[in-house]
Amino acid sequence: MNKLLDQIRENVTQTQVWKSIFRHGFPSNDANRALVMFSNVILHLHPVRVRRGALKIKFTWCLGGLTFFFFVMLAVTGVFLMFYYVPDTRRAYNDIKDLGTVIYFGSLFRNLHRWSAHAMVFSVWMHMTRVFLTGSYKPPREFNWVVGVILLVVTLVMSWTGYLLPWDQLALWAVTVGSKMAEATPLVGNAGPFGPELGMGVDNDVRFVLLGGTVVGQSALLRFYVLHCLGLPLVMALFMAVHFWRIRKDGFSGPL
C-alpha cells in the first residue's frame, strides 16, 4: 500500500504541470519552507523568517491580521450579496428581504457580511489601541500609523455607506442624521458656521454632493452603493498595500 501511495505521489508531483505551479518540494526541510514563502505572492507578504518573540499571541493578539481577514470576508460575502441586491429605492428593501428568506444561504451571507463589518470596526479600534500601547508607532514607523488612521476612517465610512443600502427605517434615518451633520460643516455646509455667508445653500453645499440632492433619495442610495461597493474598497486596498508594505520594510516592532 505504501509503495502504491509513493508511486501516485511520484506520478503527480514530478509532472511538468505540477512543477510549473509549485516551485518547491514538500515543505519538510528548511530550504523548502523558505521557498514556499519566496515563491508565493500572498505568503511573501510575510518575511521568510521572523524573530521568535514576534510570534507571541499576547503581543499583537493577531488583531491586524484579523482585521484584514474580516475585510476579505466582507469582500467575498459582499460580492455574493451583489448578485441579488439592486440599489433602487423601489426594490432595494425587497431584495434584502429576499436574501433573508427565499434565497438559499442568502441570510447566511447577509449575516456574515453584517457581523464581519461590526467585527472589522471593533478589531480596527483594538488594533489601533494595541499599536499605541506597544509604542509601535514610534520612529521609523510614524507614517505607517498615519496610514492606519486613514484606514480607520475609510473603514468607518465604508460601514456608514453600507448601513443605508437595506433602505429600512433605521438605515434611512441614521443616514439622514449623518448627512445633516455634513450639512453642519463649517464654511462648506449650508447650516454650518459661516456657511450661508459663503453662499452655501441647500442645493450646493457638501451635503448636496454627498446625497446628490437635497433629500436622502434614489441618488443618495446610488452614490452610497457605488462608494460602498467600489470606490472605498479600492481606496482601502490601496492603503492596505502601503500599510503591509511598510510593515514588511520596517520590520516587526515586537519584543526584542
Binding site: 507571541k56 499576547k58 503581543f59 489601541t129 500601547l133 519584543p255
Partner: protein, 40 residues
C-alpha cells in the same frame, strides 16, 4: 434633577472603569513580558 445627577455619576464611574481596564491590561502585559525576559 435625579436623572442629571445619575448621568453624571454614571459617566464618571464608567470612564474610570474603562480606563482601569485598559491600564490594567497594559500593566499586566508589561509585567508578564518582563517575567518572560527574566525567565529566558
Amino acid at each position: 434633577m435625579s436623572d442629571r445627577l445619575g448621568i453624571g455619576i454614571f459617566l464618571t464611574v464608567g470612564t474610570l472603569v474603562i480606563m482601569g481596564l485598559f491600564l490594567g491590561a497594559t500593566i499586566w502585559l508589561e509585567n508578564s513580558f518582563k517575567k518572560d525576559k527574566q525567565k529566558k
